[in-house]
Every structure is written in C-alpha cells, then in structure tokens.
Symmetry: C2
Subunit: 408 residues, 2 copies
Amino acid sequence: MPVNYTTPAADQLFSVAGVRLGVAEAEIRKKNRRDLTLVALDPGCTVAGVFTQNRFCAAPVQLCRKHLAGDREIRALVINTGIANAGTGELGRQAAQATCEAVGGLLGVTAEQVLPFSTGVILELLPVERLQAGLPAAGADLKADNWHAAAHAIMTTDTIAKAASRRLTVNGRSITITGVSKGAGMIKPNMATMLGFLATDAGIAQPLLDTLVKDAADASFNCITVDGDTSTNDSFVMIASGQSGACFASESDAGWHEVRAAIIAVAVELAQAIVRDGEGATKFITVAVEGGKSVEECRKVGYAIGHSPLVKTAFFASDPNLGRILAAIGYAGIGDLDVDGVRVWLDAVLVAENGGRAAAYREEDGARVMAQAEITVRVVLGRGEAAARVYTCDFSYDYVKINADYRS
Amino acid sequence: MPVNYTTPAADQLFSVAGVRLGVAEAEIRKKNRRDLTLVALDPGCTVAGVFTQNRFCAAPVQLCRKHLAGDREIRALVINTGIANAGTGELGRQAAQATCEAVGGLLGVTAEQVLPFSTGVILELLPVERLQAGLPAAGADLKADNWHAAAHAIMTTDTIAKAASRRLTVNGRSITITGVSKGAGMIKPNMATMLGFLATDAGIAQPLLDTLVKDAADASFNCITVDGDTSTNDSFVMIASGQSGACFASESDAGWHEVRAAIIAVAVELAQAIVRDGEGATKFITVAVEGGKSVEECRKVGYAIGHSPLVKTAFFASDPNLGRILAAIGYAGIGDLDVDGVRVWLDAVLVAENGGRAAAYREEDGARVMAQAEITVRVVLGRGEAAARVYTCDFSYDYVKINADYRS
C-alpha cells in the first residue's frame, strides 16, 4: 500500500495539446498486461531529457542520448516494461534501433525522431518481434486523453500508477502540465529517475527546456531514494508542445517563473509518488538538511540517513532509535563536522543537540512522531547556509519479500 | 545461525603470556548477562589501535585515542556492552573518564594507562556506578586462559562468540596469537571494526606495531560490510607482550614476515566471523574485484555490490538476478568505466562479458552457485592491475526483524 498516495482519476489528468498516447498488450514478458506505450508528438514540440549516470546504462538510454543530440525533431516516444534491455551489449543496441525503426515506419517519421525506453529485468534480451507486433494496436489507441492508461502501462513492481496534472493561467493563456512516472525499487536516481515523462502545452525554447529539465530533476527525481540502487534505465523526459500559444524563450520572459515553478511542482509530485510506493514502504520520510557549507554536503547527510538500513528499519518499527540517525550523520563524509553544533528534530521535536540527546527530549514525544505515516527529519548542521532535501521511505519485511521473489 | 562458523572451544584459544582477562555481570543494561570485561596487561606490552572515522565517535573512542597518544604505558582495557556511550556529549566523556579512573584504582595504575570500550545502544548514558560496582568481580576473575569467556562477554546482537587463535614457531621460539571480536549489525567499518582485540606474546616495537595494526585492519575489518552503517564505536586494538622472547623491531628482522602474516590471518578470521554472523545472514559472500586502476576503485565496486539491497536480497533468494550486480558495478562511481571490458564470475561460472550476458552462460549454472552458503563474486574490470576484496552477507527477513525489534 502506498503511503498517502492515490492515482488521480482519468478526468483529472488533463490532455496536453500536441501529445497523444496509446497503449497495448505486447506480451513482452507476461501475457494479459499492458506493457507497451506509444507517445506521438505533433510537429513543433521541443523535447529534453536527463538519463542515468550508471555506466551499465541500457541500450535505449544510449539511443535517447544520441537522438536528442541530433538535429531531427523528436516525434515519438516508445516505452516497454518487462525487459530493461540493459546489460545486453551489441544485441541490445540492435534491438533498440529496430524498435525505433518500427515506430518510425508506423508514424511516418525516421528512427532518429523516436526516443525508446525500456524498464524491467536486466541482462535479458528484448523480444523485439513481439514489441513490433504490438505497435499497431498502440498506434490505433493514440489519443490525447490517454494519460491514465499510459500511467498504468509503464508500471513494473509499482503497486499503483503515478501521474500528476495541473493547469495555470499565465499571460491570459491557460497552460496545462501533465506527467507520469514509474518506479518502486532500484531507486536512487543520479541525474534522473526510473522513468518520468512530463508534457506541457507551453512552448519552451530548447535551451530553456534543457536547463529546466536539469533543474526539475535536481529538485525532484534526484532527491529520492528507496534502496540506494541507481538503475541502468533512469530517464526523465520533458515535452513542450507550444500549442497553448504561450511560449517562452528566456528566463526573463513574463510568466516564466510561474510556469517553471508549476512544472517543477509536478515533477516533485511524480518523484514523491515513487517513494510513497517504494517497495514495502509504510512511511514517507522527508530528510531536510540545513545549515551546511554546500548543497553537496547537505545531500551527503540526507542520503546517509535515507540509505541507512538501520534508520529505515527503526522507522518501520516506529522506534525512536535516534542514535542511528546521529551515527549516519557522523559517517556521511563531512570530515571536519563539529558534532556538538548539530541539531536534529523529528517534526517539531528537538531530539539532539550539543553532541547528544536534547535536555528537554522525552522518549514519548519521539515515539509519537515515529508512529506517523509522514515524518520530517530536520538536521541543522550549524556551519553554513546551504540546504538540501532527500525523500525516502522505511525498510520493511515486504522490501525483502518483493525483491527475493521478483523474477520468480 | 552464523554461516559456517562455530566458536573455537576454550582450550583452542591459547593463552597469551602477559595478558589476563576477567568478566563480570554488571547489569549495564540487562540482568543475568556477562557485560563487563577487564583485560590486564603486564608491564612491557606495546599496544596500538585504529578507531572509527564516524564524526559522532563515542566518548570511550575519544579517550582511547588520547591515552594511546600519551607517553604512559597502557596497562588495561575495559569493555562494556549494553550502552555504547556515544552521542552522549560531555556527560559521556565524564563517564568514560570515571571508568578509567575506577579501573586504574583497582589495578594500581593511572587512568591514562586504561583504554575504555563501549558497545550497545547509542544516545543513552552509561550507568557508570553499576559498571564500577562490577569491576571488583571482573578483577577477581582475571586469568590468562579466559579468552573464551571474554569472547562471550563482549557480544551484543551477535548470535555467536567470535575468537581465533594460532601458534607458530619462528626463530626457534613458539609465538601465540589470540583475538576476539564482536559485531553483527551497523557494520561497515572505516579504519576499524565494531570491536576487535588481538594479542600476541611476540614483542613488537611500537612503530612496527603502529604500522601492522593499520595493515591488518585494511586486510580484515576494513573489508567487511553487513549493512553499510559505520558504527560510532569501531575499535581494533593489538597488544604485543613480548613474553615469548621473540621480539621484532624492524620489517627486515628474520621471521617478521611469518609473524605478520599469521597476525593478519587471525584478524581476517575475526573480521569474517562478524560477517558470517551478520544480522539475518544466511550466506557469506566474497566480492573479489581485480583488474582495476587502483585499490580505491576496486573497493568502490566491491562495496557497491556488497551494499546493494537488491543484490543482497537476490542472494537470500538464491536467485541469479545478475543484472543487479552489473547495475551496482555501473553505479559504483568509476566515471570512465568501459563496461564492454568487464567480466563477472559466480565462483567459476563466467556470467557476464562484452557488456552483457556471457554467451556460454546457462541460468542453471548460476542458480547452482547461488544456492551455496559461500559464494565468490569475481569482477575483473579489465583496466589495470589493482585488486581488493569485500566480505559481505545476504539480506533477509531476519535483518529487518532484528533491527525493527532491537531495543524493544
């Protein structure tokens, strides 16, 4: 059960003019399951993405990077679940290429105008014939109001489909932003997430979009961790169709600040949904680190806490075993940290200061916060002005069960 | 149940002339449990240690560092379990100091000649009066053939006592090496382990011992991980009494190479015992990384594999889900790694090469190795001559159970 998250209803996911989606059952790995998603883009869209830093990055990620760096307009995305097409060497690259060619043939564009995405089991070959055989059905299903189906069709170990949508009016024009994401395990994105797709009918010039996708990833998918494992397939792609008529070419354009903030808010919502549905998660934890000398050291502390199996099992047990949090702060890698200057709160309860337990801290106050489904751990390092946030979940029996059983 | 490990019998743990040990029940945290160990050293011993790099290092660790850096001969060690005396600020330092003074009073030495060690729950104050009250019983119990009792008295969440002992003849003299260790969770030592104590009746000059303790820690306790959490209290101490009559002052001394190798072998045995008894462990895994440009990058890869919850749950399930191992290699942090040059074996089975699954690999071969209780994952990076090893265990329901229940 995800922590405080439900998928928005289909009619709450607003269509984005210029973007149509279709899904199909291609039997990539299992029968009777929507596992193929096609996204067709009208001419005139700008597209930007960020991808995994894993050196064993998947074949489709390699092609995405190449096609985005090329000079042809991107006109389609194709996403399969079941098989990640990662750790598949030259055969995997051929399979991803063949996938792009098939999509190009179906839609009347070139293979270079297609971005391919795969997610699922690593080290197994993509059954490209089955994928190709499923494409016509996905093509026939293409429609603008199909985000809800797409959110479901990109799921793997997710227990719930993840999507977010909002509308705002800027410069007198209505702008829509809608996105979907997937992921529940192997989650510690490094410059991107498992899979996240966000589209807007605002027009955003390519250089502005390139910057925005990085900023949005840093504020959202790059702040989450379930198990500290960076996937081979992490991808986050942003599409701007321009069909709202509201177009932006520079950060100084009127209304840009609002549009940017709304897009980042949707990205944060999609990223948090992944943590809320983290494998075995029973709690959603925000680690807010402040008072650091740099964002980098704040992130180190946030991830040390967010990755610690001891901290995560203590949250699962609702046990205010705060020494485990202090230990994680201590080994986060800040060599000159003065621990006597560190303060730690659980929500509003001050639990540690002056190198030890806060004088006024009472165990029952900590226990009360730990029993909640949503908890903020606030760490003030007391050595600067920088801050960072990490979103994570607890570590339960079910995480072990899910990952010991997956594949079998 | 530990993986292929049983505590040596009391008569297999050879006494080390010059070293006497005594244990007692001091009710530090629980009744009816040996939780206090005293080690008395004859005059003439050299002593060296390495300690946690955690910035929230415990009060006793701070005192150990200070006393070892002083000019007084170390004459005693005192170890309590139950309370770690970490995250306890100034009151914790006073408690550790009072402990040393009490031991000094009992044995007729100064507080500066005593090394204190604590292990157990973090962020709670050490009940120093109960510890002091237990000291006379520990003093009355002091004897040379008491290593077996000491191995038991330093346990916390350990399910089995850990000790190792061996004798060798060098330059016509019999030399004895005996050690004990403890630890099962919060195990990813950084320059030391939870607690490890090793004594020899060889004489080893202080500069040589200072180097040896670091080398031995790097080859043993610094190669293990259970959960990636570096404890606040990690300490590894080596004692050389000289009472065998075989003394060493320089690396070029005859026989030193053999003594050094035997001491390191005992340290490795003690460190591996901690992993074999890792919380919830059902398998013992050696990650051997070769062909790196530096030891540092080999260690990064070894720890990425050894820490990955996905890899560790796959081992628990005996599932050759090898993509998880490749993913961990890929995110270990070697920015210019050419994955096409990486080869991976499970024991003697080649599972991956050329960026993907090895052509001759059959799933049943992988499954056969994964079903074993002891497994070696061998990774050849193909870019240099450096190598490193990491010892780890799998990740089971019981890890979650133990750590969700601990304290309660």
